[in-house]
Symmetry: C2
Subunit: 467 residues, 2 copies
């Protein structure tokens, strides 16, 4: 019996129409990256399992797709694991974990950041720093699939590594504005700084509760001020600290006004003041870039708090509630885990799949352009077909995308093919036309026809297309 | 202790310099595919294991990378397998096979053809036939890695499906000539037809020995005529059949001369004569395309014999002995296994990695063009940097790829950065220049400097680059 075809849940096929739209996004992003001098790299889909494990927390480790060793892997399972397997274990996951390390040495990459850190350390002697790289590749996560969340999806990462200059942060914000400007997506950029958050926690005497505090404040929109304060109390914050937090939660005004208020609040915290200085510097650069109007200083942004050490960046669509469409930040020690300490980097990652959804929902995808066949030459039979081959060659050499219909079938079927594939021009060259060294060109959009000498066909079609 | 960074054997990182060269190949191939009206699709890296198993023979099944199920997979191992594991098995691979089916449901794609067949069946209601698609994606094979053979490598497949016209075969040959012409690689195309081979085996009364016969004749260059005849005898061919084969082995002359001789030899075989008719038709079309001089009718070409049903195509470099750099053929029932019978297709696959090796060994890669940063703006300090931001914006808006050096370090280091990254122009704008609303432009190739007003910077650089 024939197999019913299907693909693993959370994965997708991309049809030609979807590919055109996806490539519109990738090409736009890639062009902007290049304009700012970022260079492409690629890393393998498979990394050594030990390269990835332990980098994304316990939950992340579970979501990494592991690859079964090739060959007679079962013969490598040690006897104690084998006998425990046959007895069964009362502790969930225990045997799976023990077994994994014996039958799997490789895994699919989970993001582009850890492979990039590994790349930097491995290639450091052939790399010039600062290194400005971009990387557009799929990643895989064994997450539960749901609307907008896939097990295979593309990340578009852009990072500068080996430079502590805050110009890099500003340049990434500039790139964000340029990419979404070209895609015509309205955005707001949230900007925070880990050092400001650390300063706040320090000032209220709760340095160890920085995550709890930020997570609670992050819920202000959803649960209101009372809700936030209750949650802070539940997390063990004394009333005094909660009181001290109030002006910070209430922080309002322009970015400069917010910075001014923060300077007063954080004057006693060295870390906090350093965060403010960094934030000011980035905002200063962004003024020169004429992009500061898109940026909101937002203390509730806590993305990747255990990971970023300076700036934290997140971008949302102003039109569609879909979560973050781009995000990133500064990490001071990306490569330490692979033996190269003190390499600072800053980067952001564009989420191509969510950007796709925004463009689709806002109907901002451009009309197809240039990516489809422009001219179909009708097949009237073998002799006519042969006479049409040189016409196709001439048109292709002139840069047109041209198809000869391969089969000798009814005109109606060939015309439906042109319509189904949105081919705008059809060339008809039957015996009559060919005997006059001419062809008929049908404009499929307008429905009208025109005649052209074969020797004049390139000019004729150029004129039609530029009309 | 820090981990020593590395990647799985048989996989590769691609540095920026390699990416430029790889993209030169992919972009060339993609442009040609589009010019002929082929449309891009993509399929997921992971397919269901049952989609892939049994499609590549027993050896292929072993070379498929399987993905370990997520979650507590060990708890799903049945008790009989578990107890056999703890006892051990004397039969190699037996337990691995039994275990695989219980702990793995997904695998990495092994080629692009089977996923394409699955795609066609799954999307047949939204697909217009004939469907001309291309697909450029990596595939994974657990082969023993060696020089030029990788465990992750790219295939560039181009196929027409749902059309039996032999124009398609000719068009693919045309595409092959166009791609390698643009890449400036000299090639020979070997063309054979499964039906001619079947006719030969039929005529000498050895229809069931078609593979043995072809494999033996394939060795003519290496082991000579005597060697071939000995091998045929060893494979059980009676002397009479071997005698009948001699004129075919000796087949020589132009393609038309070979066809003429074959017509005599195969006149009694219906299948053989059909193969000759197909071959003639393809060669006729290729004459109209002006590409027949690159094509050799070659009866020893037996690539994928169990798979192709009509034309068999293989391309080799004329300059470098590196094996096939492109190959394919006609397959009459690609999708039957997935429940859609009688869909005929024809396609070829370009081997990007071998093409890379040919271009590298023949030094045919073009000089880097357009893919790197064109202008570096030197960082003289925060004030100058801010003054330079609008200059960078103006130049980027004009289409140049521009970097601002982020850190305030010695001039010498910034110049080394420009050299290491092959950046051809450096802009110097210190206080002196800025006070005169001008910049100094250094040509890094020639070593000379020129001055430009900031308002004239785009024209100035355009002039320099077009000199």
């Amino acid at each position: 019996m024939a197999q019913k075809p299907g693909i693993p849940k959370g994965t997708r096929d991309f049809t030609p129409a979807q590919m055109i739209r996806r490539n519109y996004i990738f090409d736009t992003i890639r062009k902007v990256f290049k304009t700012y001098g970022y260079q492409a790299i690629e890393t393998p889909a498979m990394e050594s399992l030990h390269t990835l494990l332990g980098k994304y927390g316990d939950e992340g480790d579970k979501l990494i797709f592991k690859i079964l060793n090739s060959g007679d892997f079962a013969s490598k399972i040690d006897s104690s694991t084998a006998s425990r397997l046959s007895e069964g274990s009362a502790v969930p996951f225990e045997l799976s974990r023990a077994l994994t390390s014996q039958i799997s040495e490789k895994a699919l990459r989970y993001d582009l950041t850890v492979p990039f850190a590994r790349y930097i350390v491995q290639h450091r002697h052939e790399t010039t720093f600062p290194f400005k790289r971009y990387q557009i590749q799929p990643v895989w996560r064994a997450d539960r699939p749901q609307k907008g969340r896939y097990r295979e999806f593309y990340q578009c990462d852009v990072d500068v590594i080996g430079s502590k200059s805050l110009l890099n942060e500003a340049e990434l914000l500039h790139i964000i504005c340029e990419v979404f400007g070209r895609l015509k997506i309205s955005i707001r950029i949230k900007l925070n700084n880990r050092k400001i958050l650390a300063g706040i926690a320090e000032i209220i005497g709760q340095a160890d509760k920085i995550v709890d505090i930020t997570v609670a404040i992050d819920k202000l929109d959803k649960i209101g001020l009372d809700g936030v304060n209750k949650e802070l109390a539940r997390k063990g914050l004394p009333q005094e600290s909660i009181d001290q937090l109030q002006p910070i939660i209430h922080l309002s005004g322009t970015n400069s006004e917010k910075l001014k208020q923060l300077k007063t609040v954080l004057s006693e915290s060295e870390t906090g003041m350093q965060g403010i200085a960094e934030m000011s510097s980035v905002l200063d650069f962004s003024k020169e870039m004429d992009i500061s109007e898109w940026i909101d200083l937002d203390l509730t942004l806590a993305r990747g708090l255990n990971y970023y050490t300076g700036a934290i960046i997140e971008v949302k669509s102003s039109d569609i509630a879909i979560g973050s469409i781009c995000g990133g930040g500064r990490y001071d020690d990306l490569t330490g885990i692979f033996g190269l300490p003190d390499v600072s980097g800053v980067g952001v990652s564009f989420g191509a799949d969510r950007i796709y959804d925004v463009l689709e929902q806002t109907e901002l995808f451009p009309e197809d352009s240039g990516s489809r066949t422009q001219i179909l030459i009708v097949n009237f039979g073998e002799d006519e077909l042969k006479a049409c081959i040189p016409i196709a060659i001439t048109l292709r050499d002139a840069g047109f995308s041209v198809e000869l219909y391969p089969d000798q079938v009814k005109m109606k079927k060939q015309m439906s093919y042109a319509n189904a594939n949105s081919i705008p021009y059809v060339i008809l060259a039957g015996q009559q036309e060919l005997s006059e060294n001419s062809v008929t060109v049908k404009d499929m959009t307008e429905g009208n026809q025109s005649s052209s000498l074969i020797t004049n066909i390139v000019d004729h079609l150029n004129n039609l297309m530029n009309d």
